[in-house]
């Protein structure tokens, strides 16, 4: 065929993701596909490509912008490639608890972010919740900022996170995700930070046994459709996509929470120890300069954060 999805009757929507097949988000995306199919009376079909088969997240997001890929799901923080202000959600302890984050994303903060993304050609359909991010390492349990001192901690290649962990006393080491496992194994780094599902499914639990519930960041992923593709669809299909996105947002949250419990158990079975006594106040004090440094960059978005 000269065009994607041609041939059969239904229009194909390709949805790319970089997480593994068994991640709850993939289940949520397949569920999203079912909703789209029934809401459009079978005229649209969603094909999910997990495992970065269509490339890493940045690459898929670029494709979605240009319309060569219809949908992708991305880490929120990867979207700072298109607008620096979106780094705001990477600020540690931006929300006291996940529910505050959900409220903010359903309110003015979320609307403002959607507007920015729409401006770069990405239409948001759902905010996916991916738990909280927490520190794990090979050396010791982390009870507060003092325990982070000197830990070589892998962080995403994101200046906010780099600055934050340096401010906390760790040696923030930016590495691509594909290098973390090797680096942990070799001892090039002492630890990293992520959610429990990633911690276990990436096998990093085998190397870094100390899991500490720092809950320093709310994990937010974004399910997006190409603005270009979206605009070309008839109004009823647009409504169907938006509706399916709304339904999936709630469904994904349930799936994630259920799976988190399972994976926390798996981490225990793999021999990981965990501590849930982190002195958050000590962390927040150390992070004050980072908040001040980024206030000008994030501008109005920062004012919409409940804690800032």
């Amino acid at each position: 065929s000269r065009h994607p999805g041609g041939g059969g009757g239904a229009t194909t929507i390709r949805l790319g993701d970089d997480v593994a097949e068994d991640n709850p988000e993939i289940a949520a995306e397949r569920w999203f596909g079912d909703q789209v199919k029934s809401l459009t009376g079978g005229k649209y079909e969603v094909k999910v490509f997990p495992n970065a088969t269509l490339g890493d997240s940045n690459r898929m997001n670029e494709q979605v912008r240009s319309g060569t890929l219809q949908m992708s799901k991305s880490l929120f923080s990867n979207l700072t490639a298109f607008d620096k202000r979106l780094g705001v959600l990477s600020l540690p302890y931006a929300f006291a608890k996940p529910e505050d984050g959900f409220t903010a994303l359903s309110g003015p903060l979320g609307d403002e972010c959607k507007k920015i993304l729409d401006g770069v050609g990405l239409t948001v359909l759902s905010w996916f919740y991916t738990g909280t991010r927490n520190v794990y390492n090979t050396k010791r349990p982390v009870h507060g900022a003092a325990d982070l001192k000197g830990l070589r901690l892998r962080v995403p290649q994101n200046p906010v996170t780099v600055d934050s962990f340096n401010a906390l006393g760790a040696q923030a080491t930016p590495l691509p995700a594909t290098e973390i496992y090797s680096a942990l194994q070799q001892g090039v780094i002492d630890g990293a930070e992520n959610n429990p599902i990633y911690y276990v499914s990436s096998k990093q639990v085998e190397e870094a046994k100390h899991w500490s519930w720092t809950r320093h960041q709310l994990g937010v992923d974004v399910l997006m459709v190409s603005k270009k593709f979206f605009a070309e669809q008839p109004a009823d299909v647009q409504d169907a996509l938006v509706q399916a996105g709304k339904l999936t947002q709630d469904h994904e949250r349930e799936l994630w929470n259920t799976q988190t419990d399972i994976f926390v158990k798996k981490a225990q079975d793999a021999g990981a120890t965990s501590n849930d006594d982190v002195d958050v106040a000590s962390m927040q004090t150390a992070l004050k300069p980072v908040f001040d440094k980024y206030r000008p960059t994030f501008g109005d978005l920062m004012k919409l954060l409940p804690v800032a």
Binding site: S1, R2, H3, P4, R14, K47, F49, T53, L54, G55, D56, N58, R59, E62, Q63, S66, T68, L175, P176, T178, E179, Y181, S182, A183, Q185, Q186, G187, V188, E206
Partner: protein, 424 residues
């Protein structure tokens, strides 16, 4: 456009003499056009295919190999090894195998191994009475195993594509590489005694051996630094490659064997080779992307999954497919396209990822030296001044040994998985 048309197109273009990179690029671009994708999407595939920190090891290990070759460090290794085993029947041939193991511990490229060792060793072998095709076959066979010896660029690309720890790959390949090297030594010994009589006259005195050992000491340190640094957690595999460059530069400066203009040649050669290899990787990524986009992987998986129940059949299909495509596409592009497609199937068939990776690498190693398609077979025949077809018959005993290793690799997971399991 179907997979079959695309594949026939690639093969046809390569056979008429179109460079592999252009053949892959043409078919990848044609497929993108067919699917209605703009040129920007094709360019994006190439860019993101190369946007990898791990791939940086390629120019770095190529550069290391070039410096060591031109600074005479490679020759020092060869001289030392020749002293050790050169006096046995077939000893020069055996020292080719041993020096290739050592040199490929520095260079990362099968072709560089073949060229460096072949140019140093084919003339003395010919002088000692080796028939030229036999000498060429020994060099080709030896360099085919270089792919399993860290640092191997093919191994690094495989680790990148399949997301397997480079350290584990390095370790997993060591025992198979050593076993196949010894097996080749045995072949050479028996041929020297009964089939291809040779007349080595290597005089070994304690003093000469001592001098050779001292002279080879520092080049021998390079693999130790590379592997040691990786195992000790001082640097990652990519960073190790930069440290290796530094070490090679220090050696060359210490030996005062590289002139100012030689440095220019080294850099340009390393840049050219890297460009050729990296552009192959990038363009192969475009093809791999198109295969994923059109879900050919899914179709292929469906077709092949009927065989995953029968391990023997599955492994044989894999071996033949990888062998032929590896020879035709020159290893790396074949790997970039094939590994992601077959990794999940291998898992279904009960092959762990490390096991599958080493098995595949060993097959690609054979591909590169298989006359008349493998690129290293051109190099050795060029150096020995024989026709490529003349290499086929003397290669047969070595091919037999290499394929026997592959079977061992396929059936005995511990052969590759045991050593890395020790350092967990």
């Amino acid at each position: 456009m179907t997979l079959a048309v695309g594949f026939v197109g690639i093969v046809a273009l390569i056979l008429i003499g179109v460079p592999v990179v252009a053949a892959l690029g043409t078919v990848g671009l044609a497929q993108a056009w067919w699917d209605g994708l703009p040129l920007s999407a094709a360019a994006q595939s190439v860019y993101h295919g190369l946007d990898s920190f791990t791939l940086l090891a390629i120019p770095l290990f190529v550069l290391t190999g070039e410096i060591l070759h031109r600074s005479g460090a490679a020759e020092r290794l060869v001289r030392f090894v020749t002293m050790l085993v050169g006096w046995l029947p077939g000893g020069l041939g055996m020292s080719v195998v041993a020096s290739t193991m050592l040199f490929s511990g520095l260079s990362g490229s099968v072709n560089a191994d073949a060229a460096a060792i072949g140019s140093t060793m084919i003339p003395p072998m010919a002088k000692a009475g080796y028939r030229r095709p036999w000498a060429a076959a020994i060099v080709a066979a030896a360099s085919g195993t270089g792919i399993l010896i860290p640092p191997s660029i093919t191994m690094i690309v495989l680790g990148t594509v399949a997301q397997i720890s480079i350290r584990d790959l390095f370790l997993a390949a060591l025992i198979p590489a050593a076993v196949v090297a010894v097996a080749k030594g045995v072949v050479i010994y028996f041929y020297a005694k009964y089939v291809e009589p040779t007349g080595e006259r290597v005089e070994v005195t304690a003093a000469a051996l001592g001098r050779a050992a001292v002279s080879a000491m520092l080049p021998l340190g390079a693999p130790v630094i590379i592997l040691g640094g990786i195992l000790a957690g001082i640097f990652t595999a990519t960073e190790a490659a930069a440290v290796a460059v530094l070490y090679a530069v220090l050696l060359a400066v210490g030996y005062r064997s590289v002139s100012r203009s030689d440095w220019g040649t080294i850099l340009v050669n390393a840049g050219r080779i890297s460009g050729v290899v990296l552009s192959l990787v990038g363009v192969a990524q475009l093809l791999a992307f198109m295969l994923a986009y059109d879900q050919v992987g899914v179709e292929l998986a469906d077709w092949t999954s009927q065989f995953t129940g029968n391990y023997l059949v599955f492994v044989t299909i894999l071996m033949i497919l990888f062998w032929i495509l590896g020879a035709l596409l020159d290893g790396i592009p074949a790997l970039v396209v094939l590994i992601p497609l077959f990794l999940p199937l291998a898992a279904q068939a009960g092959m762990g990822e490390l096991h599958f990776a080493i098995f595949s690498l060993a097959v690609f190693g054979i591909s590169l030296v298989t006359p008349p398609l493998g690129s290293a077979s051109f190099i050795v025949t060029g150096l020995a001044k024989i026709r490529v077809v003349d290499l086929i018959r003397p290669m047969l005993p070595f091919m037999a040994v290499m394929f026997a290793t592959i079977l061992l690799l396929a059936y005995v997971p511990a052969f590759s998985e045991w050593l890395p399991s020790l350092v967990r």
